[in-house]
Symmetry: C2
């Protein structure tokens, strides 16, 4: 590996002091340098193929131009668009992202926050899943710029970007209500995850608002956001809940599990039971039946979070507008249909 060209090399080639070179190459300071000198230096720099050493600059300025991006699991189809959204604003500004997967494990998350701090990240974007994660709040209190996605940290001055979970669930419930459904069940997500909890709450509110039966047995809670748990929760509903004609699932993967169960039991969807998901994951328009779901703006959420973080890093006070709520949309597909008429007489 050949010697990397440094400011010193440029200084030697131009017969000038390294500090002069440094200034000439810094757009913000280059005004204090004579035009001739500056041209001479920039020419030499590009001739020699100079590239600044960001580690050295970071050490000196305490600004690494790096941000940490913490997500539960990049393998979860929800997060890649968020990551790209983040990168789309950070990269043009000269920031690099260190990506870490927390697996939603508190200890792992705590360790990774430390790892990021050791590397001198200028800020952290935290696509939270856990409802309780003291680590990131502490980091923020210690002065680390932090923005969270999907989650508000209570009592902390941390800007956050969330989807309108409430509106999403309300749209799904209203859609089913419009189709004539009255007894609507909910396959809830894990209640220790923010989205799971928010959506379950939203479901209860939506049911109440429409004066529909709010039997707690119509809500079954999954332990994880995956197909197996969706199936388990759906079976539990079918076995123990009073009759229902629709299932609002807290996310698409739970809905997939619910659909499997319906198929396995020979319950036609949507003829007998309608199903909705949440997130609008890729390819769910291709399954049979195509899943009615709520689409969210992941990339935009990532981009906004990144912009907020840049502002924080730039010294802007977090106060004022902490919250950004992104709109969601109902995507109607084949898994929802009219409430079966045979059942109607039994309506309350």
């Amino acid at each position: 590996m050949k010697h990397r060209v440094t400011l010193k090399d440029i200084a030697r080639h131009t017969g000038v002091h390294v500090s002069t070179v440094s200034r000439a190459l810094d757009p913000a300071k280059s005004t204090t340098i004579s035009d001739g000198m500056r041209k001479q230096i920039t020419d030499a720099a590009s001739a020699l193929g100079y590239r600044p050493n960001r580690l050295a600059a970071g050490l000196r300025t305490n600004r690494s131009m790096t941000v940490g991006v913490m997500i539960p699991d990049i393998t979860n189809a929800l997060f890649p668009p968020i990551v790209r959204g983040i990168e789309s604003v950070l990269e043009p500004l000269g920031y690099a992202s260190i990506l870490v997967n927390t697996d939603s494990e508190p200890e792992r998350e705590a360790r990774l926050v430390e790892v990021l701090r050791d590397r001198g990240v200028d800020g952290i974007i935290h696509a939270a899943a856990l409802r309780q994660d003291p680590t990131i709040a502490r980091a923020a209190e210690a002065g680390m710029p932090v923005v969270t996605l999907n989650r508000r940290i209570e009592g902390a001055e941390i800007p956050f970007v969330i989807n309108d979970e409430d509106a999403g669930i309300r749209l799904a419930v209203a859609h089913l209500h419009g189709l004539g459904h009255r007894r609507i069940a909910h396959v809830a997500g894990p209640q220790n995850l923010s989205t799971g909890q928010l959506r379950a709450e939203a479901f209860r509110r939506a049911i109440r608002a429409l004066d529909l039966p709010a039997d707690p047995r119509l809500i079954s809670e999954a332990q994880r956001f995956d197909e197996d748990e969706g199936a388990r929760a759906a079976e539990h509903l079918l076995d123990t809940a009073p009759p229902f004609t629709a299932m609002v699932c807290a996310n698409d993967r739970l809905a997939l599990g619910a659909l499997s169960v319906l198929r396995a039991r020979g319950v036609p969807c949507p003829a007998e039971v309608s199903v909705t998901g949440f997130n609008n994951m890729p390819f769910l328009d291709r399954i049979e039946p195509a899943l009615t779901t709520i689409s969210i703006r992941q990339a935009e959420a990532g981009a906004i979070a990144a912009r907020r973080l840049i502002a924080l890093i730039g010294g802007e006070a977090p106060g004022g507008m902490l919250e950004t709520v992104l709109p969601v949309e109902l995507v109607v597909r084949g898994s929802t249909g009219p409430c079966p008429t045979l059942e109607s007489p039994r309506d309350l």
Copy 2:
């Protein structure tokens, strides 16, 4: 933001020199320190909450403990498992990954390689898509440890990890052949991408090996690996190619496009035309018909690439075993079925 505790702080608190502290905290060097001293120092370190500044250490040692991970697009379902596979070996070793998306654009890729070098990454894992990318080869020649995924760089001593594309296509063709299909078409991927080209070549070889009709009109090339191009290429085949009863698609997204076209034209799959994909993307077991495809070991590929890179960084010569070929598997699902008997008489 409070002052971060440094070696100097520990030195002050324990009344020894910073270099002693540095040694005591370095597992490799701590043997040269008396037990009492070491305990005193490590105690002080944890009491004060010391965390090493990796930027400073990296500047000094020229080892940032950071690697660059270049992928075309994290949004492509193929890559998240690879990224996790990489992280699963790198993170426990203390390495962090800077993730960048190249979008398969040569200029962008070239710039990002520079960005990574500026940040002093110790090595680069390059999940290549482009067949021609001189940039990464140059970086490797300049001494940067590099491992590529999915692609061999000709003439360079760069270890690479690939899937057995040839075997995958051969399995698909053999499977169809076993079902009685004789006239098999290929929806090829972009020929400027390594997988597109390798799979098309493999297809030709497989067809030849089985003495099947090798009409060039039975191969239609997509410009991108996406559903639209898969649809376009499939339509082209249906419109211009001699009759065929099966389509081997170069990846799953092309296959999805092909399936759409078949449905739109009222051609039943697999009754009249069977379809195969490649990659075994998530959820394709849920579509109608479920896609027969080739599963590949993404996470393992990432993990192996990471291990190879660590070895390179550790000074191991790249020579010897440059190549790692990972086995693939045929996953038979509903999109492939027996060759329609009505067509059989027209076999050659």
